[in-house]
Amino acid sequence: MRVTLSDIYKSFGAIEVVKGLDLEIQDGEFLVLLGPSGCGKTTALRMVAGLESVSSGRVLIGDRDVTHVLPKYRDVAMVFQSYALYPHMTVAENIAYPLKLRGVPRTERDASVRGAAVKVHLEEFLDRYPRQLSGGQRQRIALARAMVRRPSVFLMDEPLSNLDAKLRGHMRSELKRLQADLGVTTIYVTHDQIEAMTLAHRVAIMNRGVVQQIATPRQIYDDPANLFVAGFIGSPPMNFLQGELVEGTFVCAEGRFATSVAESRKKVTAGLRPEDCRVTGPSEGKIAARVYAVELIGDHTLITCQFGGATVTVKADKSAHYDMDEPIGITFQDSAVFLFDSETGGRIGGRARGEAAA
């Protein structure tokens, strides 16, 4: 079912949490709302669920206006970060609860519960209580309970954040597979960019109650709309340098290098992804710097370099070895440089890289 949010505002007292949210989620789409804590993403999700009223704007599920409809009539299912399992009910009773409330007859209910339990590999645990199960199993109960009544929309509020890292990776792939199999429209809230990149058909990045960019994970990464998106996505994060643009050449206090944008402007921020940079000999690079620290991560090495007052992190091969304070050069392609207006944060020169990838 399609979900449409149009011009949604939400205030708690004098604090405006969501400011003019417009989102259109297609039938069967997996949309991730991504942003730092306090950006309004959870509030947005809760407004779709009906747990929060909107201050102004409209929420549509399919063609139905549900702006002022109680949660139970919206035909949505939600998975909470805490899983929100009922501790006094067995796994089977937990999964059956939504059906019971809808007056589904017992035999039909039992069959549906079993079906949902099989999908999440919990059929052996139906008679246990949630407290007797592990975090990952509890998470799966919550998923089974959400899908047992085949809702029009899944809403997920950081469903994987309470799991340990290994389990999280595993559940991520299960979740992706499950959503693809069921084909149910899903809105997923997270602050974890890996979850967003891996799960989403499209990602909506929010900051301070405003959507910064809505695009596929690849577009978001290759063609960030502004400084916030560029800095939020990517690990290690994008390097930023402050300076100005003189006829296509970026000039800062520490040096200068060519870009692919032939413009002149003051107050420009240049962005470079660590993996787009390479370390070369001191005289060969576009920037001359010295090594500040070298960190071996495993499959690669992070080299933090200093030049003047600025710091640039370079992602290098795992065999890379440099001494501290060793003079080096950093090189990159002209087209790897992202340029932003330092004041508005807006992107300068909508870029070839993103188009080429699309």
Binding site: A49, G50, L51, L70, P71, K72, R74, V76, A77, M78, F80, Q81, S82, A84, L85, Y86, P87, H88, Y97, P98, L101, R102, P130, R131, R145
Partner: protein, 348 residues
């Protein structure tokens, strides 16, 4: 390497390891526990053996051991339970205590839940106008002989007009905390203050000396305790659970009865028992509101203090049969009481 030597004082006053108790501390602990056990058990024992005594054994006593220093008799038991009709006040006590406790716990927990989960904002002006109009009705009816139907109708109309005109412009409001405090403050007032008005009220309603009057009164006076105790249990339930149930299709009442209530069961059982005991033991109101038909056990016990002096043996029989069910119920519900009031609410 041998253990570090310790002086005698250290060995006596300090524990040998972090998870044990010092010898002196252990002796003091058990001595105090033993003393307290005596304080609790001896009166119970005394009441129990006194019920097998007659006037002679009580007056010439003290006698401590039945069959040893006095010959027990069933005379008092026979007198109270067979010759006199004690069953009736006993039934009254059971009916009144159980019914009023059930009502108080049901209404009180609903109120507590609402106070925790729903935000109330009642304009202070509305409350003030309501009270002023209420006073006006009483004055009009009592002093000026206005028909009460007319007075109420006029006051209701005035109140509605005021709600739509004046009240909207004021800012001061009464919130959840104020309502809660008001409910609890009802219990701060000593009951004797309200006894006469309550008596007159039931007299006017021709309900004096009925179980109903006692049930209603006990429910009212125990409500604040239930609200006060249960609100924290409900506040301890994670909101996620209730929101999840609401999305799954439950109404507020359904959430209350299928999610909230079962989760606070232990706390609720403890509250139930506490209120039950308060109602079971209540004396003052029962003394005023009942005399023959609805008389309860505490009143009957005190009635054994006759013109011929206190009939200790009869009193002891009554007290024994009064204490017995409380001991039984408490033992059955012990595990709930132990964790109930302290831990109260949810365990994941």
């Amino acid at each position: 390497m041998s253990a570090e030597p310790r002086s005698l004082a250290r060995r006596l006053f300090e524990p040998a390891s972090i998870d044990s108790q010092a010898p002196v501390a252990r002796i003091v602990t058990y001595a105090l526990l033993f003393l307290w056990t005596l304080v609790v058990v001896i009166p119970l024992y005394w009441v129990f053996i006194t019920s097998f005594k007659g006037p002679g054994e009580v007056d010439n006593g003290p006698f401590y051991l039945p069959f040893v220093d006095f010959a027990p008799s069933l005379q008092a038991w026979d007198f109270m339970l067979v010759q006199n009709y004690t069953l009736r006040p006993y039934t009254n006590s059971v009916v009144v205590a159980v019914a009023s406790t059930l009502l108080a716990v049901l209404i009180g927990s609903l109120a507590a839940y609402a106070l925790v989960r729903i935000r109330f904002q009642v304009k202070l002006a509305a409350v003030a106008i309501f009270l002023i109009l209420l006073t006006a009705i009483i004055v009009a009816v009592a002093t000026f002989g206005v028909q009460w139907e007319i007075a109420v109708a006029v006051a209701a109309a005035l109140f509605i007009i005021a709600l739509f005109t004046l009240v909207g412009r004021t800012r001061l409001a009464v919130g959840n905390n104020d309502i809660e405090f008001w409910i609890i403050s009802n219990r701060i007032m000593p009951p004797i203050v309200a006894v006469l008005p309550i008596y007159v009220m039931f007299q006017q309603m021709r309900l004096l000396d009925t179980q109903l009057a006692l049930i209603v009164t006990y429910t009212a006076i125990n409500l604040p305790i239930v609200v006060w105790l249960t609100r924290d249990f409900f506040a301890g339930i994670p909101l996620d659970l209730e929101e999840s149930a609401q999305i799954d299709g439950a109404s507020k009442f359904r959430v209350f009865f299928t999610i909230a209530l079962p989760l606070v069961r232990s706390g609720l059982v403890a509250t139930f028992l506490l209120v039950l005991i308060l109602a079971w033991n209540e004396y003052l109101l029962a003394l005023f509101l009942s005399n023959a038909d609805a008389q309860t056990m505490p009143v009957l016990v005190s009635a054994q203090n006759t013109t011929r002096g206190p009939q200790w043996w009869n009193m002891s029989v009554l007290i024994t049969v009064m204490i017995a069910p409380v001991i039984v119920i408490s033992s059955i519900l012990q595990k709930h009481i132990a964790r109930g009031l302290l831990v109260g609410a949810v365990k994941g």
